[in-house]
Subunit: 156 residues, 3 copies
């Protein structure tokens, strides 16, 4: 089963690539390594605002992290033309807009990590850091970036 | 036109390398990859203190990010001896000292990204993450780090 | 003297690897590069809670960063089977739970950097970023992640 078929089985439609809101690219390749920019959580096509511990529940936060992962997959699909050319997600960083009283950033980040595990079940887990930030661009509740590796023979 | 000539055309003089304030190096090479440490914004040779949303305006923040980018270029020049040996900036991270009410970290970070675009116009944009942190070393308003790639045949 | 002998000389016993608290791996290899997940500071086997500027002193913070470095070394030992297969620590990130009034994240991070310098004295310093975050998973006071490089001929 391909990664795209797994997305379809989950009823996930990859959104069109959104233009960067600033002077950078969504993804840059260096040899076989892909550096993917921070992607903000979105809901209904707009940035998903809020902070954990204030106006976003843990369950909403997990869904928000999942939404960022869907957009990351869209970027990876756009760059590779074939998600199966991804050998692995090497490292994921989850920046969670948080109050001082919220300390479950790791559980929020699971919303992204678990989607990658579902879409890339044979490629092993990724390394990860999750931490609470005071505020994110456009008041987003979560931002996720990652480093991925292309399969050695992938012609991208 | 070389990268150094572009700097000169912008009247930018690369500052001398400052010693790290702690037990680390400004830049480490791994194969063709350069990992560059977080560089703090500076003004008139001293750390530029403040937080966005409090005592630093957006325009000042952009200039502060640009100042960190100038110091990053100085480090890259020092390490390579030739900025044109840089194949690309792969990933840039902008940590912006922010209040909860400031949410334009991406616009602040553009102050760095746009300078790299001016100095390396043929090398494509970088991937990027920008987020708001509660405080930075020495009260700096902005810290920027990056990952760069050397040109394959660069003898550094 | 091997890295393990240096640990012994410092009376440091590497702890057993703790299971990840979420859907990720402690370390992922991509070619010769190791991406190591954020490790939380621990004291007496449990997460070391608190924030710098509030209920953690600078000296405690340094010890907390050192505790995270010990756990990072345990993960590297577990993954490589031989710490001497590590060619270098390329980049270290120190996320320090901080109030707005604490701005010595770099000195806290030295607790980790200096231990790596003691254990890997011949491998050069690492690049580093340190910044203040509003909160960390499980109220940890410090989280440290890193990127390391394997020696070219290391058979891991």
């Amino acid at each position: 089963m391909s990664a795209l078929q797994r997305l379809q089985a989950l009823n996930i439609v990859l959104p069109p690539i959104t233009a960067s809101v600033a002077a950078y690219a969504p993804c840059v390749r260096a040899g076989g390594t892909l550096y993917v920019s921070g992607h903000l959580a979105r809901r209904n096509g707009a940035v998903w605002p809020g902070r954990l511990g204030e106006d976003i529940t843990l369950e909403e936060g997990r869904l928000a992290a999942r939404s960022a992962a869907i957009d990351l997959l869209a970027t990876l699909q756009h760059v590779t033309g074939n998600l199966d050319a991804i050998a692995q997600i090497s490292k994921l960083n989850a920046m969670v807009a948080s109050t001082t009283e919220f300390f479950e950033q790791h559980l929020v980040a699971n919303g992204a990590s678990e989607l990658f595990a579902e879409i890339f079940p044979d490629k092993g887990p990724h390394a990860r850091s999750a931490f609470g930030v005071v505020q994110l661009p456009l008041r987003a509740c979560i931002e996720v970036d990652l480093v991925a590796e292309l399969a050695p023979l992938a012609a991208v």
